[in-house]
Symmetry: C2
Subunit: 523 residues, 2 copies
């Protein structure tokens, strides 16, 4: 594995990146609270240099925004009739075209929307958040976890949904009791000093809400049978779930979903839909963004790069010549575009295996709020993944709920089914968690990402250590005058932040190539 240090040394040796860039990253090493550095260049460095950017997703938009401000002449070609790429928000009247499926027209009520692609931003994705701030995109909380959300397993809890608060706190209570017993019995005398043992046992009582004797007898942290009320309406805590029942099923892992560093509170979302981000970029970019421009060929000579594209608006085929081409096109789409890339690059692109993912959204009255659910995800059958509740518009008449959000192997099977069956599975998943409410779900929209034209997949994961993947390493280098970039060439392939950091790096590479050895960071 190429270590961080080796990489810095090797790149520094080639002179490929400016010194300031390296020191900024070094700063990053010192503290995780420092935002990702944003490349800022003097406005004249790109003068007379034309860059064509393929794709107006987040990576392409960041590139265009930064390059034009550094004096480059920029043209963006985008095959879709909108910017954003996988950042895609659906509203009433929008058309969903999926390869091999009948066209869907979104029937949601006015004002309702569904983030078909990315739908949450971690608080530590400061690159993307930095652009939201810069471009004035208002943010609100995305509720990624709520204690009232549900876990359900056919193998445990008598097949009935339990609340997240039960799984989390009953499991914690049970293991606190066990660890307390083991510690008191001397089982950890080799591990802990007498003083540490005392402190641990004392703290476990608080941690697990144990009795004075160190036993777990349930906790109101897990919720009430009867809530506390007036006068003598005492809150009556639920009976605890047994450790045996809790451990019966892998569904328990659902309670740890938001412990993942990219899922931890606070999560954010743009007010009014994720596509407020590409809209804000689009508005602030002065360069030409040609929509409906489908790339047909990418080529180059020793001193020019060239792109041939079909203008879908008038059916003409056009040729663009540029100093450099930046290609953000998803690899499964790029794989079938004519090009003169080297054989290893062609092979790397052809071999890229994208993941599978699908989302089914419904409009509904907000029955879940009567169950004290305000946002977050419930974990039902693995065949349909999670049920996802809206994080805004609380207590209003209606909302958009995801009945299914499934990835990986389950999504491969799911996407193979007819759309109508996918929708019924999603409805059933909701009905299973919220008995009797499947019927409330209306106006379904299905998005199978592997059938979305110009995407053909949601994201890709390289092998465990992506820096070891030869194809990843190869595509992270320029192919002559052509630069590949995008989330798929970053350490965050399934996040918009990946697109931002990859684009920033590509800008640095181009700046270095045109002779700018320095850049400065702006937090």
């Amino acid at each position: 594995m190429l270590t961080r240090r080796k990489f810095i040394t090797s790149i520094a040796a080639t002179g490929g990146l400016g010194v300031a860039f390296l020191s900024m990253r070094a700063l990053g090493l010192a503290s995780s609270v420092i935002a990702q550095p944003t490349p800022i260049f003097p406005p004249e460095i790109g003068k007379g240099i034309h860059v064509v950017i393929l794709g107006a997703g987040i990576a392409g938009l960041v590139m265009a925004y930064r390059l034009e401000r550094a004096g480059f002449s920029v043209t963006v070609l985008e095959a879709r009739k909108r910017t954003g790429g996988r950042n895609w928000t659906l509203r009433r009247g929008d058309k969903v075209e999926l390869n091999g499926e009948a066209e869907q027209v979104v029937q949601f009520s006015e004002g309702m929307y569904f983030n078909a692609g990315p739908a949450r931003i971690p608080s530590h994705h400061q690159g993307l958040l930095g652009y939201c701030k810069l471009l004035g995109v208002p943010l609100e909380v995305e509720v990624n976890f709520s204690n009232s959300d549900l876990l359900e397993s056919p193998h445990a809890f008598a097949g009935k949904p339990i609340q997240e608060r039960q799984a989390i706190n009953d499991f914690r209570g049970q293991i606190a009791e066990l660890l307390s017993k083991a510690t008191n019995q001397g089982a950890l005398d080799h591990e802990l000093s007498a003083d540490d043992k005392d402190r641990l046992v004392a703290f476990l009582r608080t941690y697990g809400d144990l009795t004075k004797d160190g036993l777990y007898k349930g906790s109101d942290r897990s919720g009430y049978k009867a809530p506390p009320g007036a006068f003598d309406q005492l809150g009556i805590k639920r009976d605890p779930l047994s450790l045996r029942d809790l451990l019966k099923d892998e569904a328990l892992a659902g309670m740890m979903f938001d412990d993942n560093i990219v899922m931890q509170a606070t999560m954010l979302e743009p007010v009014g839909g994720m596509d407020q981000i590409p809209h804000a970029f689009h508005k602030s970019i002065k360069s030409s963004i040609r929509l409906g421009a489908e790339v047909k060929r990418i080529g180059q000579t020793s001193n020019r790069a060239e792109v041939i594209y079909l203008d879908q608006r008038d059916g003409t085929t056009n040729r663009l010549s540029a100093d450099y081409v930046v290609c953000t096109i998803p690899l499964p789409v790029l794989a079938v575009i004519d090009n003169d890339f080297s054989a290893p690059v062609k092979q790397a692109i052809a071999d890229a295996a994208y993941d599978h993912s699908a989302k089914i959204a419904f409009e509904s009255q907000r029955f879940w709020e009567a169950e004290q659910i305000y946002g977050g995800l419930s974990f039902g059958t693995p065949a349909t993944g999670v049920v996802w509740y809206p994080s805004s518009g609380f207590q209003s008449a209606r909302g958009i709920i995801l009945g299914a959000y499934v990835s990986g192997k389950a999504a491969t099977a799911f996407e193979a089914l007819p759309i109508s069956q996918q929708i019924e599975m999603a409805r059933n998943a909701v009905d299973q968690l919220h008995p009797g409410h499947g019927i409330d779900l209306s106006r379904p929209v299905a998005v199978d990402w592997n059938k979305v034209p110009y995407s053909l997949g949601p994201w890709m994961h390289w092998q465990d250590s992506p820096t070891d993947a030869a194809a990843y390493r190869l595509l992270n280098q320029p192919e002559g005058r052509i630069y590949f970039t995008g989330a798929h060439l970053s350490q965050l392939p399934s996040w918009q932040e990946g697109a931002v950091v990859a684009a920033h790096r590509t800008i640095e590479l181009i700046a270095a190539r045109v002779g700018v050895a320095n850049s400065s960071a702006k937090p």
Copy 2:
């Protein structure tokens, strides 16, 4: 202790409450997801009956709203020049009068506000949430916990703040390792079957993010030294905190703050300030709400109740006669109002010991967002309690931050200091957590609740089991034609929900008295 069952039996025997009321509560026993029942009566039951309500806080407003809809003639007397009671939102130009202190005039920028009283609503406080829905008060998420929020202790972590995510995940990893070892060593063979042991050890690996060997070597759940970025910028996880260091200080308990059932996500807040709730009540109540009406005497004969009050607007003293009086006045305030209550009731009121609580708010640029903090609370020195960040307006120029929110003994000491010193302590608490940023805090406002006229304290807690407290039991009964109610007479004395459920019970009692044996629930 009076058990729930005994109470229901005893009240049912007296015929004091309708059967429907009891069955609704029984429903509540069956499922905690059922909302608190809301008393609904036919619109004619109160015809010709006059009720005077003392206090226009949440309890008084709920009473007025419900009683007028049941045909009662209602008059509300409120000493302050606003409704809401402790539900109090401060904005530019508002005056803060504290007994014994110079008047403060709020200097915040236009649009900024500070919830000086209640500032969050748990998702299971369905009584209050029900009124928000009924009255059209828009809600948003109140971020009660964020993984980037800070814990700080002079006794641990070299005195430096750590992020919540470090405390939570490093502690969990360490105890998962210990429990895994103890289990493998057979220390729990009396507790667990062989099968359970296997499942537990397997799950602990996931739970604690342990190595294959069951060791905790740190986790990216605890955050990064360097975040994952482009190409080979691998995320580098932080070094784990040691169990010894984690257990050094009680500050660790701060990581469990949001495990408290009343603090668990999702928490909510009204958009634009907590006082949107009393404003919405005020607008929807047709009865007279007399502001600036300071109660001077409460008395009764066998067939009438009587209130004498000072109208602060014109200085006149007025007399109101009514069939019933509902008194929501906080007990320390009530204690010095002339009355003809029985000696035991006088004593119960005089003995009520309210808690202490103070909040210090500042306006500031949002420096905490550069540290990836979006809402939630940081735990610093106990002398000033928590630092609380705003849950909305993310990435805007400025926000309101609480530098101190302290209760209990610490608040007693805190409130004894000059206001200027309280403000400097709060500033220092912020500066300690966010070095160099104390200077960013401007336009301070201090609210010592025990000095707030007509409140004289934030809330009171009866003894552990309030139904055993003789005074609590006594005041929960009518004193002739006078009914006491409010959060202090519920199982939720420090929550607005307590005011709602207490008011609902009082309405039921009055309805039963005027001869209505039945009511129906509305979810």
